[in-house]
Symmetry: C2
Subunit: 149 residues, 2 copies
Amino acid sequence: MFYTIGEMARKLNVAPSTLRYYDKEGLLPFVERSSGGIRMFKDEDMEWLRMLGCLKKAGMPLKEIKSFMDWSRQGDATIGRRLDLLEKQRQSVLEQQKQLEDTLLMLDYKRWYYQTAQAAGTCAVHDTMALDQVPERFRPLKEEWKAEE
Amino acid sequence: MFYTIGEMARKLNVAPSTLRYYDKEGLLPFVERSSGGIRMFKDEDMEWLRMLGCLKKAGMPLKEIKSFMDWSRQGDATIGRRLDLLEKQRQSVLEQQKQLEDTLLMLDYKRWYYQTAQAAGTCAVHDTMALDQVPERFRPLKEEWKAEE
DNA sequence: GCTTGACTTGAAGTTGACTTCAAGTTGTAT
DNA sequence: ATACAACTTGAAGTCAACTTCAAGTCAAGC
């Protein structure tokens, strides 16, 4: 079963021009062509594209993804390098998760801040608020901020 | 206590030019100037900058951060809009967390794939491998892929 | 055979987020 | 008073990741 670039793009929820761009950059060495030069995507190409999407969403630059693709074509001798890249990216994902945790706490604090301000009708309530009126989970946050100043 | 742009940049681990760029874009409406025109950052500016950094790392575009800054200057009437933006960003963070979870599972699967390939000396081991040889946690992943094809 | 929509390419344009540069100013230390 | 590092600005340059455009080709239906 074959798909044109338009069909594949619809499946993946990206623009066809994006897939052409990836192809030009050497990220899709696996796509075959019809005798007339039209790209023919196969079902098994999906796994590569899925991985590509995953790595991209995890913030890996296209250049590094290309390295991975290049190494894959070069065969078993490059397995070690591929593993290294995956390991590096795993580390990056763990760091991003930690970062998002921090951001979520900050957002929740700010949401609490504005919810109470909204209830009071003004942000000024926070000027006169004692620390023990701040929900416990947000207190470490404020302490941390003080330490950095 | 005041800080120059260079001192503040060092504290935040960014280039001074970045802070100037943010200022030009209207993201730092709170910075004061000396009589000679030099930016003077205050300790309390840190909280804004910290929030800015957090929102940026959570993928919020500078334009939206600017909206938030604009609304903050406009006073209590905009509390609702600020809450909406925070809520939206919270949602975005939750989605990103889910995305990173998926990516991590994929990375772990691929790492397992290449680790076993490395042990065998070739990727070909996976051609002859039965599904029950794949660690349990990765099986849903392979099933999911089949469904999408 | 012809139309039509989807494909092809290379080149140029866009966007977001900075960075670099040139020319000039500020402020601290001697 | 002068030197000098660090600041100021506007303008231009850079980079990644696309998108758009123009001119042409392919292939499925009538």
